[in-house]
């Protein structure tokens, strides 16, 4: 009886270990695809929610403001009609704690999903 218990114990421990190893490998093997989409707001109001690759023009009151590009888990402002062009110069974002801000038009391009891969909570600039 004692021997049998010991055999089962080893079997259970081995199964748990195998399960843990499989889970670790699965976590490592699943590629980090960046963010799953972005939402674009104008002064806090949602203008467009993007989850498919493509170019998305953003307008207000019939006036074209800028174009957001989403491509394979990263996003950027491709062009803008604003004066300072800081949103365009920001370039691609692919991390959940990054945003693109256009101050003159009060537009924010904010990531949806993804992981914080650079580790910091806030950036001082």
């Amino acid at each position: 009886m004692a021997k049998r218990t010991k055999k089962y114990d080893i079997f259970i421990v081995a199964a748990i270990l195998l399960f843990a190893v499989i889970m670790i490998f699965l976590n490592l093997l699943i590629p980090q695809k960046g963010i799953i989409g972005v939402k674009v707001t104008i002064d806090g109001v949602l203008a467009v929610s993007i989850s498919q690759d493509g170019l998305y023009p953003v307008e207000k009151d019939g006036k074209h403001l800028l174009t957001v590009e989403f491509y394979q888990g990263k996003a950027r402002v491709k062009e803008s009609t604003c004066d300072n062009q800081i949103c365009v110069k920001t370039g691609w974002i692919s991390n959940t704690n990054q945003t693109i801000v256009c101050l003159p038009y009060k537009i924010v391009v904010e990531p949806i999903g993804g992981k914080n891969t650079d580790g910091v909570d806030i950036i001082t600039w």
Partner: protein
């Protein structure tokens, strides 16, 4: 045989007791462990920038605290913005002498104090020069003014033209043509006031307010961990590229950089951090990060120490005023005050 039975019973008993023990520990853990606070965030365009508020309430709901913070930011911005007609600053520029409350007196006095301590490298009367360059507002058109234009307005730039009468609660501009803009200090002051307000309502609240890179900590992350704050690499156009990382439990961090607001004319970059003594952008620094206990202090000194530049022999002197600074120049050379290194360590 007896021995074998005893061994078998003993094993089952041990197993049962072990499982009971583990269950009990788990049960106690579930009962007594506090769940991690849930952070709620809000983003608003205010204070002339993009403000992120990140709060977890201790006894008051996070959403209620967010609403209070947003309203308080808007109220104080309307009170101190130089572009809003009802503001204290606008009224002073128009009427030349005003009566005001204790809070406004404190802010004006703080601005004058920083000007004195930094040897006029920070100046709240810089507005006429900022207007010439178009740096008074994000939507103003930018241009390089002529040296004649700058010479014409420089005589109106000095904090010495602000007279503060604390006894009678009056502020007066002593010279015609002098105008005030508290933009270099009011953003930080407003963040401090909002944090004070949140802490009055909910002393256990944690989180931070990030007003365009000027950061005030409401309380440590999840109540006991430091916030990890990256310093932007001033040589990269990518705002997420970092040059250093700080670990802050409380207080404030602010950075002034020549990449924040600028324009390029004939291949030359002109940025918004103007030296009050020359009327031109200060060029002996690229980025200046200041850590202090208040955002107002960090905000104003980040500007003042940027203007003083990397070759400032008195950098250590400023630590007397609760300021730790880290400066990077255009060649990548860095200098820092003696206590700055402390904030790079995750474990204090």
């Amino acid at each position: 045989m007896r021995a074998k039975d005893f061994s078998s019973i003993s094993k089952s008993t041990v197993l049962i007791f072990s499982m009971l023990g583990i269950s009990l520990i788990l049960l106690l853990f579930i009962i007594f462990s506090k769940p991690l606070p849930t952070y709620e965030k809000s983003e608003i365009f205010s204070l002339g920038t993009y403000v992120r508020i990140y709060i977890a309430g201790g006894k008051v709901s996070s959403k209620s605290l967010l609403k209070i913070a947003e309203k308080e930011i808007e109220r104080l911005y309307a009170k101190y913005s130089s572009n809003i007609p009802s503001s204290v600053v606008y009224q002073l520029n128009e009427k030349r002498e005003i009566e005001c409350d204790e809070e406004s007196l404190f802010l004006f006095q703080a601005a004058v104090n920083v000007s004195k301590i930094t040897g006029d490298s920070f100046d709240p009367t810089l507005r006429p020069v900022l207007m010439l360059w178009g740096f008074d507002d994000v939507n103003s058109s930018k241009r390089v003014p002529s040296s004649y234009e700058i010479e014409q307005v420089l005589p109106f730039v000095s904090y010495k033209f602000i007279d503060i009468d604390s006894k009678n609660r009056k502020i007066k501009l002593l010279k015609e043509g002098v105008t005030v803009d508290l933009g270099g200090i009011s953003k930080g002051f407003i963040v401090d006031r909002v944090i004070d307000r949140i802490k009055e309502i909910d002393p256990k609240a944690t989180g931070f307010i990030d007003a365009g890179g000027d950061i005030g900590i409401i309380g440590p992350k999840f109540g006991n961990r430091p916030w990890q704050i990256g310093i932007r690499d001033p040589f990269s156009s990518d705002p997420a590229k970092l040059i250093d990382t700080l670990y802050i439990y409380s207080g404030a961090v602010a950075t002034s950089g020549n990449y924040e607001r600028y324009f390029i004319q004939n291949g030359t970059l002109y940025h918004h951090i103007i030296d009050p003594k020359t009327g031109y952008p200060a060029n002996n620094c690229r980025s200046c990060t200041v850590i202090s206990d208040k955002v107002m202090t960090a905000d104003a000194y980040a500007t003042g120490l940027f203007v003083l530049g990397i070759d400032n022999p008195a950098l250590e002197y400023f630590t007397k005023f609760g300021v730790q600074a880290y400066l990077i120049d255009n060649t990548g050379k860095t200098v820092e005050s003696s206590g700055f290194e402390y904030f790079r360590n995750k474990v204090k």
